[in-house]
Symmetry: C5
Subunit: 367 residues, 5 copies
């Protein structure tokens, strides 16, 4: 089974599905964490910044925290770890998030989507890592709530994310980051996630190139399973990326006040990247179908090659063995047996038959 | 034949189709129960509730029942069993249901749909169970009539449904249930049905994982039929779920007064679940195609393996048998026969041929 | 060749196509009967009815017939047999039908369609019968002209149609039939035709079930042709039913006065049936593809089984024959030949080889 | 290679493509004939007609020709042969045709299209012939310019076209032809072309029927190439016919004054024919895929049959040859050899083995 | 591996993808050249022209260059080579290009697109060459900025482009070139690029024709890889050409002032070419699928042919060898051995068996 496949299965598709069945029957808005608990820590990082202002804090409790009232200050609160639902609930209370939003944050089997709750936009995304040590893709759900001057992001685990470059840009104060609003921050986070897909596609591209060689040189059952695994991965990736188009279109087109028109050009850029990723996924699927065709015909070719060897051997030796058998018969009256040159003559006959067979095979292009 | 398949065939697709042919020629609006009679009982359960009010009754006749006139009271009448058409007709009279509605309720071969009859919305859904004891999926048609302050639901059988959690929430009086109207009740019922699909998909997912192993380890004809059966199941599931999108969109978009705007957020949630189910079904179909490819190539691989054994044996023993045949000839003048070391020399020759064949097979990677 | 296929070919697709080529070059509006002449009779049945009124006549000539002027009377004129074009022309004159309408009525290679000629709607449909005696589907084209208070229907032959239940309802005077207008009559006729498709689909469903067994048990070339024939039938059926959607939508949406709004609910019902038929056809196509896959793999499995028998026999007897050959050599100095227990020892050796081969085959799961 | 295929390749797709590369780099509007020069003649036929008027002339030069100024006279100028670009240019000057129009007329690799140049409509079509003598389809591009009272048509060659019935109707003065305007003439020409496609489809249908038999009876490599050739033909036909829909819709929907509303009914008729042709092409593609499946499985069946013969022979004779080999051994102490009935007993043994093998094969249904 | 494939991989798809991962994390608008550095030179060519005016300069620095202020003069600045980002930046400053535009120019992994920046249109295109010497397709990204009276074009390398005919037309002063504005220049450049695709398609067409012969005559694994390579090329070409439709529609439909209405007719012409290219690509994909089918069945046919030879040999010689074995047995009492004509009789018997086998094979059509 493809290692990538397994990773997807565990982290996303199958699990999210399994867990949701445990929740069947509960009233809507009940907060239950659906998904794997990745770590026991819950980490909250709050970054507040403005043109002149920058403050970064790590919180372990939300009890004595209250959001900045200053409209010119952008607050980015990042929550890592979803298993302690009371923290998610408190965060929801701080920013007035709807119960259905909180429910979706905790259910890690979501597909990317955007929902407009009036006072804030709720965006669900998938973050993918390629874990080089175990050669696996890992999936993490990221939820963003974009308000007028805040972004709250929720991740499944604390160990890592793809947002470090964004943090660095905020800290450094270079570029546009500090002068722009929360919408630009949200754009930057989405952009960071979309960019990370290119790394996954690179790895997939390398794997496909490897398989294209393997199907010709050693078309084993294992190679077939790798192809099948990559196809499943493409199916899963497609499901993760496809709705992104609508998410970004939704951000751009919506007539909500939360996203300033100056951001549209940037969103269009992310949109273009998304299109490129989708088309590369589609192209990969087509190419994998082609690789499968080569695989299947490689096996046929091998059967053919085996058949040829068998036929050559049988076609040469069956007549010869027959002749030897004839002169092994015990008839009393077999004149050839008494001939002086009978034995060499038989050898000549057999040699002639063998050589004419070889000529025939060369004509058939089997040799 | 896949057990799942059989279940679908009997309960839904084929049967519904067969029965409708018995009705061909009758005028529209004629009440005939088209479908299997699942039980002989007809059970009617009426739940009336409001913010302060709760009453639950089991009726066996509708003769002395009249719906509550109190607009603040929501009435949920659930009818189990469709074979006694006079009860369906009486229910229709109580709530002013159109004859075509009643006809559709009785015809259990419907696909999910929504119809706006002005005073009420008529919604048809499919409820699926996974019967663990016989390893089968079972299908039941559920029809909902949503009026301003009532929901009438019709089921095929009385034994079970997926609505118990909803009933429990109404009884307990916790959550929003009692404070919301009939539209929220209808939403809750639909949500319960949609959630139950996830359980089916889990079972299907497990079966696919099982098949993914089986096609490699023992690709029997039976495994192929299982794949075919699951594909049929996906085709059927897709037909049951696909129209749900339009049903929910129809509820959300319609400018009818029956569904309050506050419900839209909840409907959007069910819509998202529906999309996820559809995409999982599509993904399953793609994966099953891949599994089929592995199956077919497994068979080719097996033919190839058999061929190799045959070819190895034949290629080694045909030349050896030929040599033995040569020295079994009865020519008078065969000098080798008289040599002192002729017999051992022939063994050496045959051993050399055998070993060089084995070297050849190792080079061909057949060993 | 599938008998169903043949029926379609003759009656519909191929013939209609062939005949139209005979008409190439004639000016538009020329009345030529394109299609098979099914019978020599032309039968005209006129039914006039109103709430209080009912009259049924069989005409053999239109010379002394004139349509009723009474707006409250609905006239249904049914013409069986298209080969006497002068009768079609006269009917056209009676009801002011456009020459292109008449041309389409006579050309039996049409697909279902609706055309709005202002004063009347022109509807083309396909009526299908399953002829049990010869196990064949038969196709007949039905054209309807729906005016304000008349319906004129044209059929290819007089022997039979699916309209008897409609006639019975008119005669009996029960139900809504007599109180509704010509639009309800047209709806009833279309409904009767659509209902008849379910019978065809039942027969096809039975055939598919039969084939699903046959491909496993005896995958002969004939079974493959049956599958191919059913696929062709599905292609043809799809072409006949698909445009029906637009026909019914066209009736419902058109802002013409000919169809009263009260009929819309009934049309929606027919529309639902059409959708079900189309989806069943699509599902059948998918299932037939799956059946084909099973067929192909059945053949592969059979090749595999044959190969195994061959390999088992060859692998056991080739080494044994070789050993027998060795001790059939005539070397002077072969010590084994003179041993007292040489012969039994060889038998033991050969038995050992045979048994170890059988053990090997059991390990390979070939036995 | 299919003869049809070859015809298409030469006349249309490949050639048009090849030639256009010679023109790469020239400024737009440069008149270069791209395509095969079919004949050396250029023939111009001018038909002028009105209700009372008819005149037909064959011109060899345009020097002393000027179009009729009489608005009630319809002029149809038909130009056969495109290689003398100065004549095309002169015609263009006479009727004020745009340089891009002339360029498109000369480039015979166009797909059907309609362009509205304000004063005239420019329509490109493909005319197909089935050349019975060489069993080939031939393609010719026809360009129509429809003005207020003229139609100018351009064809590639003079030998033939499908317009003779139209000419006959004009000459005879019967039917509507003479009383209608240039738009009706244009419709008649398009109708004639579309009708000619039915003849091609008939020939293709016959070929498919032939192939359906051939794949079962003699599935040679040549049959496969015929299937491939027909598939290519369908691809090409589809490309030629598909844009016709838009052409006719473009004529109907355009709010230009050039096409009178009374023509719309006729155009709708051509549109229906086009739809039928497209659907028949699609159906043919599906059927050809099915034929291919039968072909591939015929080959598998043949391999299977060959395998069975081989296995039967080998399974019967290998054990017998082994037994003969045993009693050909030269051991000193072989008691059976000295038995009186040893030889007949061996024959009995071998007969028994042979017969039990035959019984086994009958049980396996190989005989 | 197909040489074409390799070319695409290196120049476009894979590389562009790989490089972009190096840029992940940088703020938007950072200028980094993503792509292969094709040459070390950067060449800037400025052509200024008007009805009366023409000036052509090669610049090596932009320090002392300033764009013409004269509105009647059209300036075409062509920049070859993207690796010196400071030059790109300076050009951007000269013409007020947005940072995102410059970023896109430098990222050579873009797909064709059009973006409206208000004061200028930004168009990305792919230019394809067929390098005859190495039999490879090469890809180069061309970016166009179309302002009111200027076009700035950026190419990846200086060695060559497809714009020479356009330059020649400007220099010569013939045709419309000099009298039209910058929009006509932009059209001419796009037209030149689109025309160059036809040359690629010609080469692909030739390759397909070659493969169609090869799959029948020598269906080697290499041929399969060629087919796979061409399929990949079609996938890539499709991705390069498909968005062109939207680019041209975007130019035509946009209500911006930059493109004069008189250009629309010309754009429609390019649009038609684009459609033809896309349809040829699609047709090629379909045809390649057909070629693959022939390939696979060629292999099956070959297996079949090999099987037949094997079966013929085995079926003839196995019975004969058996007979010879029988008379090689050493039983004491074998009357045949003592017969005078025993030996010739056995020859007759064996000849009879051989001949009847040959007759059987002729009946089976194996000979």
């Amino acid at each position: 089974m493809s290692v990538i496949l397994t990773a997807f299965e565990e982290a996303g598709m199958t699990e999210g599905m399994k867990r949701i069945s445990n929740k069947v029957g509960l009233p809507p808005g009940t907060l239950v964490h659906i998904g794997e608990q990745r770590s026991d820590k819950v980490r909250i990082k709050v970054i507040e910044y403005g043109e002149e202002h920058f403050r970064e804090r790590d919180l372990f409790t939300l009890d004595d925290y209250s959001p900045s009232k200053d409209a010119s200050v952008v607050t980015w609160m990042n929550v890592d770890g979803l298993h302690r639902t009371e923290i998610i609930e408190k965060t929801g209370n701080l920013y007035n998030l709807h119960p259905l939003t909180l429910e979706d944050i905790l259910n890690t089997g979501q597909y990317p989507k955007i929902e407009d709750y009036g006072e804030y936009l709720f965006i669900v995304l998938k973050m993918l890592y390629y874990n080089d040590s175990v050669n696996e893709i890992e999936v993490e759900q990221v939820s963003l709530c974009l308000g007028s001057n805040f972004v709250v992001s929720f991740q499944e685990e604390a160990e890592r994310d793809v947002f470090d470059p964004v943090r660095a840009r905020i800290r450094s104060g270079k570029g546009k980051m500090r002068t722009m609003g929360a919408d630009y921050l949200a754009y930057s986070l989405i952009d960071a996630i979309v960019d990370s897909y290119f790394i996954i596609l690179e790895k997939v591209g390398e794997k496909i190139e490897f398989l294209e060689e393997a199907v010709v040189n050693e078309p084993t059952q294992r190679v077939l399973q790798e192809i099948h695994g990559l196809k499943r991965d493409m199916i899963f990736l497609r499901k993760s990326v496809w709705p992104l188009r609508e998410v970004i279109t939704g951000m751009e087109r919506g007539d909500h006040q939360l996203i300033h028109e100056s951001i549209h050009l940037y969103l269009r850029d992310v949109y273009d990247h998304t299109i490129r990723i989708i088309e590369t996924i589609e192209a990969n699927r087509d190419i994998l179908s082609g690789v499968l065709d080569i695989y299947l015909s490689s096996i046929s070719n091998r059967i053919n090659a085996v058949m040829k060897v068998l036929t050559i051997i049988a076609t040469i030796f069956m007549p010869l063995t027959f002749i030897a058998g004839v002169y092994g018969m015990n008839f009393k009256y077999m004149p050839e047996l008494d001939w002086r040159w009978g034995y060499p003559a038989v050898w000549l006959l057999m040699g002639g038959i063998g050589i004419s067979m070889l000529v025939f095979f060369r004509k058939m292009k089997w040799l």
